[in-house]
Amino acid sequence: MASKLTQSNSAGWAFALPGFGLIALFIVVPFFFAFGLSLTNQRLVSPNPTEFVGLANYKNLLGVGMITLEPERNDAGEILRGQDGEIQYPRVRNYTRKNPDYPHLDGMREWFRWSSGDNAKVVLAKDVVFVKALKNTLTFVVIVAPLQASLALLLALLINQKLRGINVFRTIYFMPVVISIVVVSLLWRFIYSGDNGLLNNILGALTFGLFEPVDWLGQPSTALGAIIAMSIWQAVGFHMVIWLSGLQTISPVLYEAARIEGSSAWQTFKYVTWPGLRNTAVLILIVITMQAFAIFAQIDVMTSGGPLDSTQTLVFQAVERGYGKQDISGGSVISVILFLIVLSISLIQRWLTREKN
């Protein structure tokens, strides 16, 4: 029905205005604000005027350094050892607290160390929590992206069959997606619980009680892995549906042609299915990568970044600093760094998966 209203240009803009306005107010403006604020010392509430500080915030976050510590020796030149026989090293803070010989290490703290002969190599960071968050986030992405994508593809291939009751399976696999991530995280906290959690009980039952209960979220060695497993489970259904839609764009007659030529299941996948999914694969990889970089809710609900910062992530830190510590500029810096990382990875992915012709 072409009425005056639907054809009028100004009416169209008027209808679009509320949407545009909200997007501008809550997405576009904050996006540019983040860039601006990251160059200042702005706090959420502060009596002091805001000052422009240039790239100082970035230097404070990204600054890393390294020192080699030589063992402490007695007058005879022998290496001093502690009660357990471990080598005694000078304290790191001797180098990082106003030491005029090491001005570039000033204010840094130890991130991790390893021994090289009798010496110890120590990697220092200006902001240890941030670099841990960066490392955890990258670990999360590197594990989640390929695992979630391939698991989702596997599920999509399974449910892309004409079987009785296939919709039951589709529903089951998709269900975690429609449940709020906060609810899912709370439930999984019970599953991972150390004293009487479902996971420990199952593992105990399967091994006839031999399995020692583990506090999955309470140990630095298992906490991130536990969150990774749960995150893959939670969102795999969403990507399964995208794969499924990709699978269904492949003409069935191509499969028939392959069947006539005697193609095995694997050959059919290799020559028909996978090439037909190329665009879907690019989309899914980029979407998963971006979602994985943005991991926040699971951390917030399940571990709050702990134990011992083993589950700190970039977005969690950005929120923590911006609102928890009221350090808006600090949060903005992390947001901008995250944006640049995701942007460059997406560009690299697009370039790697481009149509070669």
């Binding site: 069947r259 006539i260 050959q267 020559y271």
Partner: protein, 357 residues
């Protein structure tokens, strides 16, 4: 090369019977065309031969082997689909060689056989193109190339020309005919176009509602249609069908007449007694109109004259109000509204039972 034998072949989806017991014998090297209106089951029958559809009942033999349960690739067949079914991400060369790739044929032989197929189809210059760079006719040629490269015993064509425009269709039709002579292979070709059937076939199978209406050489079907359906389906323009009444039965046939037809004796083995209603069939080409209103046995007036140069088509209204079409082999001038009479050779006319429809 192989002969085929379809014995009481049946197909049903649940309670819907699509193929209702079909018996066809196809000799080695024969070009057989399945023809019929859409929904007659011709494509289903072809797909049953290919192994893409299960056989619900009856037996299918290729050569001496019963192949009801045999996988498509084991049947020694190749199929060309209406929508080409060539792989969009592969070059023409890879598409043609697909079956050989699946089989794991060695590189030298692979090249040799692909090049030979390309030479037969005169498309050597297209080998490195992608399907998106090809015209419809070229794509279909790629599909045919993929079929011939494996040297199958039986070729199956499922309406291969339906997606092409009229001019191209004629060229490709001739090429397929040539290909058959060149390869001397058994070919089964499905079409709804009776012209394709007439021009290509050694043997035509006319199907309707999952049943065989008639099997025979093209000219046999043209001159001796077994029933009204075949009479209507084969020939262009379609055969004229007039309701007539039996006036008298003779030793060799019946004398029939109606309001616009003077009594005429038609030799037939169709059973009828005086007073019975029959249907008289005469092809437009066998009617000879005359300006003299009393020269022939059929009477009517000219409605429209279509002069095509090689042929003149007359649309006539008979005195009893029924319509008739006459096709004259040369340019002839009949004015609209002119009263004419038509003569015909009773030996060229057919009598059908009305229920044959």
């Amino acid at each position: 090369m192989a002969n085929l034998s379809l014995q009481n072949l049946q197909k049903s989806y649940g309670s819907a019977h699509v193929i209702k017991g079909v018996d066809i014998e196809i000799a080695d090297g024969e070009f057989t065309v399945f023809v019929g209106p859409s929904g007659c089951g011709k494509s289903t029958l072809l797909r049953m031969i290919a192994g893409l559809e299960d056989i619900s009942g009856g037996d299918l033999y290729i050569g001496d082997r019963q192949v009801n349960e045999v996988q498509p690739k084991e049947r020694g067949i190749a199929m060309v689909f209406q929508s080409y079914a060539i792989f969009p991400h592969m070059t023409v060369r890879e598409n043609i060689g697909f079956g050989l790739t699946i089989e794991g044929v060695k590189k030298d032989e692979w090249n040799e056989r692909v090049n030979e197929a390309a030479r037969i189809l005169q498309m050597e210059h297209l080998l490195d193109r992608r399907p998106s760079q090809l015209s419809g006719g070229q794509r279909q040629r790629v599909a045919i190339g993929r079929a011939i490269v494996r040297k199958p015993a039986v070729f199956l064509f499922d309406e291969p020309l339906s997606n092409l425009d009229a001019a191209l269709r004629m060229d490709m039709r001739m090429e397929i005919g040539k290909l058959h002579k060149q390869l001397d292979a058994t070919m089964i070709y499905v079409t709804h176009d009776q012209v394709e059937a007439m021009t290509l076939a050694d043997k035509i199978v006319v199907l309707k509602d999952g049943k065989v209406m008639q099997i025979g050489a093209p000219m046999e079907l043209y001159h001796k249609p077994a029933n009204l359906f075949v009479a209507r389906f084969i020939g262009s323009p379609a055969m004229n069908l007039l309701d007539v009444t039996v006036a008298e039965s003779t030793a060799t046939g019946h004398i029939v007449q109606n309001g616009s037809l003077d009594p005429v004796e038609i030799a037939t083995d169709t059973q009828a007694k005086p007073g019975d209603k029959l249907i008289l069939g005469i092809r437009p080409q066998y009617l000879d109109p005359s300006h003299d209103p009393s020269a022939g046995k059929l009477h009517g007036t000219v409605s429209i004259t279509e002069r095509l140069g090689t042929e003149t088509i007359l649309d006539l209204t008979l005195t009893d109000g029924s319509k008739l079409v006459a096709a004259l082999p040369e340019d002839a001038i009949f004015k609209p509204e002119e009263t004419v009479s038509l003569t015909f050779d009773p030996a060229r006319a057919h009598l059908f039972q009305p229920e044959d429809a």
